[in-house]
Structures are given as structure tokens and as C-alpha cells.
Subunit: 449 residues, 2 copies
């Protein structure tokens, strides 16, 4: 709603060429609202609008934009304008930008970056993807332990504007080792002549540069932090990660899990519409092919019961119901276990606790489904024997589906694979084989075919 | 790792009765580490450990604990101890506690709460679940517009400790209308004699008390906020929501989506192991029953092609592969669309854009699958005609599955239902019907049975 109003206002001002009014209006809009403005106006107007912004605003808006808009902008901007952006944005945003732009654009960006920043960017680019080091920025407030609170405020006043956050300040030794942390609240309620070391918290929650980014988000969540210091192996402070970037990672990881669990191999961060048809097809086809070919095993097993089917073709009518129920039971369990593992509620050492739980749950579920379905069959086909065969099969399928769904994600994690791999598609394929074998096996046995 | 070390240390100190050392050690542990300590020691030791904590720490630790530990503790604590906790915790945590505890415990909690706080709690309890009002707390820093920066610091110094956050301060008019917001950074870099109104941001990002909590999290994410003011219809500031609570909501909503998409009706916030076998069964059985009975439709359709099956029983062998592929294709699309809708990347007005995209993707995917599978059938069965029938069926199934998977979540959203309902289980059941009908229909037609 809000978005649409802003876009409407901007387009009206452009159309009526009320440039001065537009300039004032733009300056008061939150930078985070610009992507939706740019999405709704023509490319040539984008550069016109962008040039109306003050230097500060221009840099702020730039980092909020989508990658394709950033690329288009850079291609239109002068060197001086690029320099302004690169002087003002934080180092983590600079690194993100460089990682996403094509080589010729990167060349131009770096050519317009101060050499000291270029050095920092190059250092940051060395950290492996998905580590704390690749997420952090280098603009933090550092204090000395023998400073007074008054002096600390002077430091913040002098440097605060260029720092990504002042909510937390870090106390470093002469050799830049991390000694403590100060929440700005503790500074504000302290007496001005107290020493920083008297009020700082020495029990610092921190992460190492090579820590996995998913672990970093868990630390944020557990300790309710707004920023986390990143140290090297010698406990030297090299950067900080702020909560907004941690939230982005949480969302990325969630999307990855959703896609993996649906059998999609994601190769891009782009949105649904920005991903090309070809890329969409490529992302989806690998798993489909694999699962399609695996599913033929179930088919082959069915062929081996050709005689049973020929004698009692009605049996085939139960196949979809049995297969679907097995698949659904399995994916319920695997989803719960995959999420439990992702949120650390379940650990790999809980394997037998999970088995014991799923076993009992599946017994309850299996018996209820078997009874309801038994009644349906008895009423529909007047055949108690088939009702019994289908009922026993259902119980066997539910139990095995829930056990497999419970066990496989844990085993995957033990093998250092992503548990989300063991979701609905794979579980369904495995449970299908069991369903068909148990059903036709029991039918042959009990119905004396 | 870290957790285990702390737990080990604590248990050793308890066993060796080194109480003074334990007291000191506990005071230095982060409150967020206490739940895992309490999980690993006996109930009677929990109260012993808890009583070693200072008053401040005791309140801090209390809000971090699991609900069952909180309940056990309250039953062991004296009225005075409960009073201490209730005097120190923030109002949003008090409300959470009261919402989760059984009636007799709530009675005791409220009896030990100051009457002014009891009034606030009762006000907060009135906001509907899942709204901004139900998430907010009332401890924020409010300033007046004509204060100097120096005076503002005095206010923060005097009241800061009792406020949930000092990162953002809110400027109110005499009748408590929200006039502006000040990030603490802006206060810190301002001159002491400047007026608050000269530096405050009047373009305040805020939410209304009845705003849906999911929308609130989107505002946090879009504008990279650490706290958001909540206003009533008259723009009076009634509370704030902090980022840590917003993150909890994000995670809750994600879990809900995961569970709903796997056909689980979640009725509890408890973890996997804390949920009883009976509750697990109850949460899973509804969808399984519904889907099991729907799947019998597919079975009934198959029975109607009894003659076709009797003439060419080999056809049955392709059923599992066709059904599974259809189900997988559909759930890939529905997952992408459900997530796109959840993250606002896709809007309901994009229905035709989605259809056009899925149509093209499914054509590419369908043709590739049909060709690969055609080759396999030609090689395995030396029967080109069957390869053609299965191939055409595959293409039809992929297209319809992807269209249904793309369309249903959007329609659900238009009907104000949760799009996550339209996930794998339902799509699979619908696509099964199409798969079987198309396959046997085409077989009868092309193979002249």
C-alpha cells in the first residue's frame, strides 16, 4: 500500500516535471523504498531520479538496490559519482557489490575506490563464502580500557558517523586483542569519570572468522545480540557482523532448505520472476530425472506381481492411496526432524530417541488409518479379507515411512550432508518400493493367489 | 561444545559442594546459557542453583527458561522471590509468561505483581494474538521535542536501565502522539545544546497495534530496524517491539509454514521431544485421513480402466513413476510460489505472470523427461508405441502439475487462506487424478485397446 503511494507520487512529479519538488520529496523517502520506485519507472528515468539525490542519500540508496539496477546505474554514472558511493558505503556492502558485478564493472568500481579501502576489500574477499569473515564489516567503534567514559563519548562523537553501529563498542588491547564489549546503554548510564575497563563486559560473545554463517545466526538468536565481534585465531578483532546481515542469512538458509526439500537445486539468489525459464528448468530437472528413474524400480516390482494383478485387478485400485499415504507420512516425519536438526532442538545423538518416538506415533496413526480405511473398504467392496490386507499394509507402511523419515535426515547430518536432502521426494520414492512390496506380498500370502 | 563445557563445570561444582565458587561462576555465565544447564541437572538442584543467583541475574535468567522450568520454579519460589522477578522483567516477557502458565500459577504471579504493572499486563493481554500489540513492550525511552541533547542524555541516564532498549528514543507530544524518532547515534554525534526537534527523524517507520505480526517482521527486515514503535489509531505511542522478538516471530512463522506444507496441523510451540506421542499423532492424522480418502478417487478411476489393464498389464508398471513425477513437479512449483508469496516477491496480481512462466518451464522440463524416459522404455521394452504414450503423458502431467502448483497457492491467498496449505500433499493428490486419467485415456486411444 505505502509503496504504491510513493511510486505514484514520484511518477506524477516526474511527468509534471516538478523537479525541485521531486528532489525534496526523494530526500525524505527512506532508502529502503527506492527499489520499488526504480522497479516501476523506466531505465532512463532511474538515472535522472538518482542524480537528484544528495551525495549521502545517493550512497545510502545505492546499497539498497537490486543487483541489476546497481549494474545499470554504474554503467551510467561518472567516475566521480562512483567514487562518492565507494567512499561512503560500508566495507561489507562493497564486498557484496563486487561479488555480484561482472568483471568489467568490478574493474571500474575498484578503479574508483580509495587504495586503503581497496586493500580492506581484497582482504575480506579472501574469506570463504558462507563464513563469518565473508559477512563482516570493518567499521566498528574501538575503545581502550584505560579511557574514561567521557573520553569514550568523544571517540564516538568523532568517529560514530562513519561506523556501521554505535550500539556496541569494543575494547581492544594495544595489539588489537579483544578485551571486552560495552553496550551503549552501559556507557550512557555510567559516571563520566569511570574507566571503560570498570564497566566493560569481559565475557564477550564472539565468533571466529571461519565460523559457518549458519552458526553465526544461531549465536545472534540465542544471545539476542544486535552485533557480534569477529576475531581471528589470535583473538584480534577483525570485524563485526550486524543483526540486519544475520537476518538476511537466516532467510537465505531457510529458502535453501525449502527449495532443497522440494527437490530444487538453487543456483541463484534471484527472485522467482528474475530467474530465467532456462535456469528454472535446470534447477528443477536434476532431481526430477533422478527420482523419475528411481520410481521405475517400484514399477518393476509391480510387474513381478503380474499374476496377482491379473487374478485380482481390483488390488491396483489401492496402489495410489497406499503410495500417497506412505509418502505423506514419511514427509511429515522427515520435515519435523529436518527442522529439529536445523534449530538444534534435535541432535544426531538423539537417533534412538527419535526412532522410539516415531515408532509409537506411527503405531497410533497407522491403526487409526487402517480402521477408517477398513470400514470404507468393507462398505464399498463387501470384502473383509481385502480390508484386512489393506489395513495391515497401511500399518506397515506408516511405521516404515515414519521410521525412514525420522532416521534418514539424522544419518545425512552424521555424514555431513544437508539433512534437508532427505525430504519428501526421496522419502516418497523409498517408501513407494516398500508399499508395493508389502502390499502385493501380503495379498499373495493372505488372499492365496 | 561451549554449552557442554559449562554444564560439566556446573555439575562438577555442585557434586563437590563448592558453593561459593559455583555462585561466582554462575554470575558470569550468560543468562541465555541457563536453559541448557537446567536441562542437564535434576529438578531439586535447579532450585538450589537458581537461589544462588543475584536478584538481577535471577530475573534475567528466569525469562530465558523453558516454560516447564518456569512453572516448576514458580512452584518452588517464595512470594518474595516471585515479586523480585515480576518487578524486574519487561512487560512483554510478563505477558508471555502469563499466557503460557496454568491458571493457578497465573494467579500467584499476578498476586505478586505491582498493581501498576498488573494494569499494563491486563491492557497488553487484550490485544489479539499474532498482532503487533501482543508483541510489544511498554518500556521505551520517550523525550520531548524542546529538550536539549544534554537534557536528553540526563533522561536516558536516569531511566535507561529500566528500558528494554536505548538504541532508539521516541519523541512524544504532550498528548503522547509520536512526533519523531532518534537513533542513539544521532544523539551521540550531536552538539549538547542542540534541540531534540532539530535532529529527530520525523519520517518515523511505525506500525499500528492491530497490524499482523508477519507484516511487522517484514517492516523490520525491509528497513533494517532494531526496534519499531507501535501506535494506536490516534498515533499515540503505546509500545515498542524489539528485533529479538521480531526474529522469534520470523522463526515461528517459518516453522508453521514448514509444518503446514508437510500436512501437519501444529497445535503447540513445544519442541519435537516435548510434544507427546498422542499430540504428535493428533497433529498428523487429520491431513493423512483427508488425503488418504481423496487418494481413493485415483484408485476408483484406475478401476474404470480395468479392461485396459487386463489387456496390457505392463501399463501398471508406469503408474508409480508417473504419479511421483507429477507430485514432485507440482510441489517444486508450489514451494516456489508459496515462498514467493511469503516474502512478497510474488503478489496475487501476478497470477498470469506465474502461469506464463510455469508453462514455459514445464514445457522444457516435460520434453527433457519424456525424451530420457522414452529412450529408457525403448531400450528396456523394445516398444516405441508405449514409449510415445508414456512420453506424451509425462509432458501433459508436468505441465498440469506445474500449473496447478503455481496457481493454487495464489488462489488460496486471494481467498485469504494460508498459501502454505497448497503444498506437496494436496497437489500430489490432485495431480494423481490427472496422471492416471491422462495415461489410461491416451493408452486406450493410441494403443487401440
Amino acid at each position: 500500500m505505502e509503496d504504491e503511494k510513493i511510486v505514484e507520487k514520484v511518477t506524477t512529479l516526474i511527468e509534471n516535471k516538478r523537479i525541485n519538488e521531486l528532489r525534496k520529496y526523494l530526500e525524505n523517502i527512506n532508502s529502503a523504498d527506492f527499489p520499488s520506485i526504480f522497479e516501476n519507472i523506466d531505465d532512463e528515468k532511474i538515472i535522472m531520479v538518482y542524480r537528484l539525490l544528495s551525495k549521502e542519500k545517493a550512497a545510502e540508496v545505492f546499497v539498497e538496490l537490486e543487483h541489476d539496477d546497481q549494474e545499470n546505474l554504474i554503467n551510467c554514472l561518472t567516475d566521480k559519482e562512483i567514487k562518492n558511493v565507494m567512499n561512503k558505503i560500508f566495507m561489507d556492502d562493497a564486498v557484496d557489490l563486487i561479488e555480484e558485478m561482472p568483471a568489467n564493472v568490478v574493474k571500474r568500481i575498484l578503479a574508483n575506490t580509495k587504495s586503503e579501502n581497496r586493500k580492506i576489500i581484497n582482504e575480506l574477499l579472501k574469506y570463504p563464502e558462507d563464513t563469518a569473515g565473508s559477512l563482516m564489516t570493518t567499521e566498528f567503534i574501538d575503545l581502550k580500557e584505560n579511557m574514561t567514559v567521557e573520553k569514550a563519548f568523544d571517540v564516538i562523537k568523532a568517529k560514530g558517523l562513519q561506523k556501521e553501529t554505535v550500539y556496541n563498542c569494543y575494547i581492544l588491547s594495544a595489539d588489537r586483542k579483544l578485551l571486552g564489549v560495552l553496550d551503549i546503554k552501559d556507557l550512557l548510564i555510567a559516571e563520566t569519570d569511570e574507566l571503560v575497563k570498570e564497566i566493560m563486559d569481559t565475557n564477550v560473545i564472539k565468533v571466529q572468522t571461519l565460523e559457518d554463517q549458519e552458526e553465526v545466526t544461531k549465536v545472534f538468536d540465542k544471545y539476542d545480540l544486535v552485533a557480534i565481534p569477529v576475531v581471528d585465531k589470535e583473538n584480534r578483532l577483525v570485524g563485526i557482523i550486524t543483526i540486519d546481515d544475520a537476518i538476511d542469512v537466516m532467510q537465505e538458509e531457510t529458502e535453501e532448505d525449502f527449495e532443497l526439500m522440494a527437490g530444487i537445486t538453487s543456483t541463484t539468489d534471484d527472485s522467482y520472476f528474475k530467474t530465467s525459464v532456462f535456469t528454472h528448468a535446470k534447477n528443477r530437472i536434476l532431481w526430477l530425472l533422478l527420482l523419475m528413474l528411481s520410481a521405475t524400480i517400484t514399477g518393476t516390482i509391480m510387474t513381478s506381481f503380474e499374476n496377482t494383478i491379473a487374478t485380482l485387478p481390483i488390488l491396483v485400485a489401492f496402489i495410489p492411496m497406499l503410495m500417497d499415504t506412505g509418502g505423506n507420512c514419511g514427509s511429515q516425519s522427515s520435515t519435523l526432524i529436518i527442522r529439529g536438526l536445523a534449530t538444534d532442538e534435535i541432535a544426531t545423538k538423539d537417533l534412538f530417541k527419535v526412532i522410539w518416538k516415531e515408532l509409537r506415533v506411527s503405531l497410533v496413526v497407522g491403526v487409526v488409518l487402517a480402521v477408517v480405511n477398513g470400514i470404507r473398504i468393507a462398505v464399498q467392496y463387501h470384502n473383509t479379507l481385502i480390508a484386512i490386507v489393506v489395513g495391515i499394509t497401511l500399518i506397515c507402511i506408516v511405521i516404515s515411512a515414519k521410521l525412514i523419515g525420522g532416521i534418514l535426515p539424522i544419518i545425512a547430518k552424521k555424514m555431513k550432508l544437508d539433512p534437508a536432502l532427505m525430504a519428501s521426494p526421496i522419502i516418497t520414492t523409498i517408501v513407494d518400493v516398500i508399499s508395493v512390496t508389502v502390499f502385493f506380498g501380503l495379498s499373495t500370502l493372505i488372499l492365496n493367489i
